[in-house]
Every structure is written in structure tokens, then in C-alpha cells.
């Protein structure tokens, strides 16, 4: 699962848990951060382990899936 937060960083990790408020815990998370404040810029990463991302700062949430799964998810939203 790849979660984006409001200061521009992304966190990639295994989904661990989700609560009613929308807070997400990721396992073996890696933080992606741009090296320069201006975009586009390359990213650097570092490992953080178990992290909690509050729903208040979460801006995006993606998962790795096949093309078929993505298509079926789109159609689910009808």
C-alpha cells in the first residue's frame, strides 16, 4: 500500500490495520521524499518500520494491483 501525506511524502508498506476514523498502520514502511523542494526531483528513501498515518494528514492511498483488478474496482464504483 502506498500512502501519500500532506507534506508531499509517500509511505510504502504492508497494510497492517485500518480503524473507523481512517487511520492506517503500515508494516515495514519505507518513506519516499523528494531531494529538492522544487519538482520534479528524484526521491530518496529510508526505512521506518511500523508507522501510523493519521487520516487527517493522508492525501492519497494506492495499492499495487493488476490491470484487471483496477478495472473491476473502477466498475464497482458505479
Amino acid at each position: 500500500m502506498l500512502v501519500g501525506v500532506n507534506d508531499g511524502r509517500f509511505f510504502l508498506g504492508n497494510f497492517h490495520c485500518l480503524d473507523k476514523q481512517g487511520n492506517i498502520i503500515l508494516q515495514d514502511a519505507v518513506e519516499f521524499r523528494s531531494i529538492r523542494r522544487s519538482s520534479p526531483s528524484p526521491m530518496e528513501q529510508r526505512g521506518l518500520g511500523l508507522i501510523l498515518i493519521p487520516s487527517s494528514c493522508r492525501t492519497s492511498c494506492h495499492i499495487e494491483s493488476s490491470m484487471e483488478e483496477q478495472f473491476s474496482l473502477l466498475s464497482l464504483r458505479q
Partner: protein
Amino acid sequence: MENEVEKPQQGIEMAETLSIPSGEGSVWTDVSSLIAAACKDLPDGELIHGGNFSLFAAMSALEIMDPKMDSGIDNGRYHSIDEAIENGAAPVPLSFDRTVDALCIIDIMDHLLACEATWHKGHSLAQTVFSCLYLLRLDRTSSHALLHSYCRVVHATCNAIISVVSDARTHEEEDLFTMAYGLPLGGEKDDRCLSNLNAVEETLCRQLRASKALSAKKMAVEDVEPLQTNFDLEEGFCKALLCRLRFRKHFYHLLMCMRRPQGRGFDLARKHISSCLSELERIRISSEFLRLVASKICDDGTLVRTTASGRQPVGFDANVNIRSSAPAPPRAIRTLSWKMALEYFEKLLHDLDIICSFSLDPLLENVLRFTVQFQKLQPDLVARAHLQLLLIQDGKLYGRDPIFAVICRAAALPEAVKDHDMQKNEFVVQLGQFVINLLKILCTNVAWQRRKLGKILQDWRIIYVQLELAFRKELGEFSNMSNDENLSMKMAKYILIWVEEQAYWIASRFLLLGFELDLYSSGEYCMVYWYIYVVLIKLAEKTHFRILASFDTAKRKGKKKRDSLMDLARDYQIPPAVLLLQCYICLADGLTTMLAALRNERKAFLSPGPFNTEHERFIQHFEHLQKACMPDHMSYLSFKESTAQASLSSLATHNHFKDAQRIARELKSSFAHDPDRVAELRHIEQVAEHNSIALNVISRVGALDTTLKISFEFTYHPYFAVAVVKRS
């Protein structure tokens, strides 16, 4: 049915998501609406979790965007070192105006010194010395000789100090000290730092000479380009830079000299220490000139404490490194002021000087005494690491004396036995390890030291028992066999006596250090002094045995077998070391009795509190000693019994303080050559005298006069209190 196509997210975010690669053949699918739907469906108090979930473990998750746990939060500052450099945070040269450039370099040098002192005091390298962008990218500075050589020598010095502290492993709880977290510390760059420095120093000397010649209206003999463009300031700048560079040079040399084994480099080290101190003084003097120049050149207003000139140094950013520490952000730290940094280095140099003046005494008791004295100066981490490396090298004392030989000498055995087979005995080997361990512990900071001393008490007790059993098994009971076995018997006996003495010495240090660390409340002084009293009695007894044994050895060496017992008895005086312990015993006895009497009759100095009874406090304080049976058959009950009868009226009948005074006075001549011991005796006398007077007052009127206020202060001695009697 309307075909709603999912609108793409904001252009920037989508692009960035795509720059993080997904697996092969897969794409990133937006699931935010799925998550929202799931949350809506969840009843209160429930959550969705993946495999291997544990709520307890989940509690330890780092919370993103919490400043205490998340060190990567975008704070609007540079995201990386390269970005900072690209944006001009660390220009080379610092200014195209050579005068301003020189001033900026000096500011950097001063700030680096302050950072280094802060690091020594126990903070992380990343937040202190390596907050300097120039140090993080050393190669960038190669066009600027002054800056480059200074950075190289700082780099080399940091490596040298990390190496010393890591080898000694004295950093204990200050474990941040040696962590380098991927900082560019590799030692390959250090080889030529001194030759670089020498070249730069040479140029500066010539520039200084040229400026002096010019100002004296002499012919300029040096054909050298001046340091900077303002003729009036040239001499001042050259001098300010020279003393800073020279300090660095001598400091680095000092570290190299002290690394040489067995103290071989100590004489040279002391010369470098002396040079360092002179240069530090010149650095201090230069601050006036620098402040003047700073006020002329720029009037920013805001004064900074970490530089001599008061200007903000260029090229430092503590934030660029913040993510290379552990996942959680480091504590905010305050860099030492420039003045405090100078004071820190002066103290460090004085402490190192004392180590370099140590005569490498082969006698263990003198080594122990030196270490205890040295610790009274409250030396910092770097000095203590150097002491430990001097004492223990390659498993030998000073890297020179094997531990078995040290033990035999300490146990007053003749020199010849040091090659005896007994050293192969497994328990003797273990005893050797304990001695090495003890020396290392005595080099750590006081709080850690006391904790460790308490823990090893049982080890020493157990090794005593094991040695006794092993000797008895090997040598049989004490019967007279061949000469060889006679010698082994003697060695066994002497070593056992020494082990006991050493164990009680450790116990006494453990108890006394409690005063240094302020661990006892006044309601506990009575039991503490009582325990000190019983331990010191044992220590004095064992010390006395050991000294008598050494007389025996000396006697045999001198072949004075014809001395009659009568002569011996007539000439015999209790050895001074034992008498000194006797002083402390009298003081402890007197204080115990006085405190007990006050407690019994005036209900003063009790251990109040609903949580712990006096018995529980006794166990808390003396648990280690009790477990090690030191001394045997001493318990809380013994304490209660011996203090139950103390009364104010009977205090004057036996004035222990007067005994202490008398013994101390007599001892002065025996220790005339030892200024530390003479000072100690004076303190003992003062404690004894004041307590004696207080005791007289209390015994006469204490029971009746309720307006009397009695307190115990440590005015004359850090361990032995003095009763202060006032009328309220």
C-alpha cells in the same frame, strides 16, 4: 447507465506516485473511496487488520506528522545537503571580499570548536560537528587552503577521539557519542592533514612577518600575498588564525602521543598540552579584535554566543542531517557557547595532563587510589576513556604487567612467584578478569560506576569461595609438605586474604559514592553510617592482615630470622593505612551513635513515609551487600539492636570524634610526603572537631531543649557529615 470515469488526481501527485515504481505488470490503483466506504461500514470500536496483527505491538508504531516521532516532516527547509549547497548555504570562498572571508573562516573555526565541545559533552555527531556543510562535503573546500586544512584536521581529530572512546567503551549511557549514522567519517582522508596544516601555517607566518615589517616601515622581506586587503587588520587576522590552527595541530599531536602504548608518548604529550593551553589563551585574547572588526564590517545586531566575533557562522545546518539519525528525531540540543567551549577544552587538557603525569605505579592499591583521586575532578568522557586505555591494554596493566603478577604483588607475595603454575587455575584466571573489570568500572562516570560496583560484589564473594575450595582440593589441608607445596600454600593464603580485602574495598566505595550521588536522605544517614562502620571494620582487619603478611615477606627477604618476638612486639606500630581507616571508623561510629540517640529521644531523622518502612529502605540500600554476605551475619536486626540503646545523655561518655581527632593528628607525620592524604587528614580533623563540639552541646541539653535545631551538613568532607546545632 452513466459511465463515470474516475477523474485523475492532481497532476503533481499522480506524477510522483508514478515515479515510485510498482511491481512488474502491476499498477497503482487508487483505493481511497474503497477505504472511505469501509470506514463508514465499520461499527464503533472495530478495526480491519492484516495478518499477524497485535494491538499491543501496534502501540509502538511511529506516528507520522508527530514532531516527536517523525523526523522527516517537511519544515520548509532544505531537503538535502545537495539542495542546501546548490542554494548557496555553504559558499566557497565565503566571500569575495578577502577581509570578510577571513572573518567568516574564523567564525566557522570557533563554531566548530563549540560544536565539538557540545559533542564531547554527550550529544550526537550529526547534530553538532557534522551540522557543518563544509565537513559533509570536504572535497568542495579544496580550493580554499585555510578552510580545507582546518576541516581536514577537525575530521581527523573526530576520528581519533571516536576511536579512543570506542576502544575503551566508556561511553556507557552516552551512547550517542560514537554513532556516526553514515556520516562521511572514513579515516583514509586523514593521512595528510598535518602536512596540509603545516603548509597553511607557514604561509600565515610569512604573511604575519610581512605585515609587521610593513608597519615597522622596514623593507618587506617576504614576497607573499597578504591574507586580506585591509592593511590595518592584517596582523590581527594573522594572529587570530595562527593560534586557532596551532591549537588544532597540537591537539591532534597530543591525541596521537597519548595513543602510544605504555605511556611512552606521555612526556611529549605534556609538551603539546602546554602548547595547546597557550594557544587557547591567545584564542581567548583574539576575541576583542574580532568583535571590533565585526562591528565595523557588519552591524547585524543579533549577537551569537558560539563565535568570538559574535557573528552567525556560515555553512551550518543541523536539519540536513536530521533524517540520518534513528527513525525518531533527536532531542533538541543547545550548542555550548564559545566561552564554555574554551573552558571545556582547558579542563580536558588539565585532566589529560594529570593522566600523563602518572608514574605507572606497579602497585595495584596505588593505581586504585590514583583513579579515585582522578575521579574527584569529575573528568568527562574523553579524559576517562584515555585513562582506561592507559590502565588496561591487551589484558595487562599498562599493557605491560600481566594481571597474575599484579595480583601477587598486591597480595604481598615475593616477585619470584609470578611465573607460578597457579596462574593457570581457572578461578585465578577469572579473578584476573575481575581485576581488569574493576579497573574499567572505576573509569566510568560516577552513577554508572556505583551501579556496577554494587553488582560485582557478589562476584567477588563467589570467587573467594571458589578459590578457597579449589585451593583446598589441590593443596589439601594446611599440613607441612615439601617446600614447593609450602609456597603454594602461602600463595593461596595470601591471595585469599587479598581477595577479601579487595571485596570490602569495593563495598566501601559503593557505600561512600552514595553520598556523592545524593542517594541518601537524612533519615537514612544512621543506617548508612552504621553499615559503613561495619564494612570499614572488616576492611581495616583485612588490610592489616595483608600488611602483616608483607612484613613477613620482607623479613624473609632480609633474612632477619633471628629477630625475637619481643623486639617485634615492642617496635610494632599499626600501619598508617590501617590507622587512616581507623579514623573513618571512629567518625562513622560517632555519627551512627549521635543519629541513633537523636532518633531514640527526640524522634528526629526518622524515615517517614507511608510507602516504605525503615526495614524496606534498609533492604533497598544494602541489597547487594546483603546478598554478598558482606559482612556475614549483619542484618537489619543487628542494626536495630546496636542502635536501640543510644541515648543523648550517654553520648559524652565515649566521644569517638575525639579518637578520630587524635589519630588524625598523629598520622600527619606518616603522610607528610603525600599532599592529598595530608589534606584528607585535615578534613577528618575538622569533621571530628565540629562534631565533638556539637555532641557536647547535644548531650548536655539535647533532651530538654526543644528549641534546638539540629541538621547535618557536608561542609568539611563529602562523605562525613557535620552536626550543626542552632537555636530556632
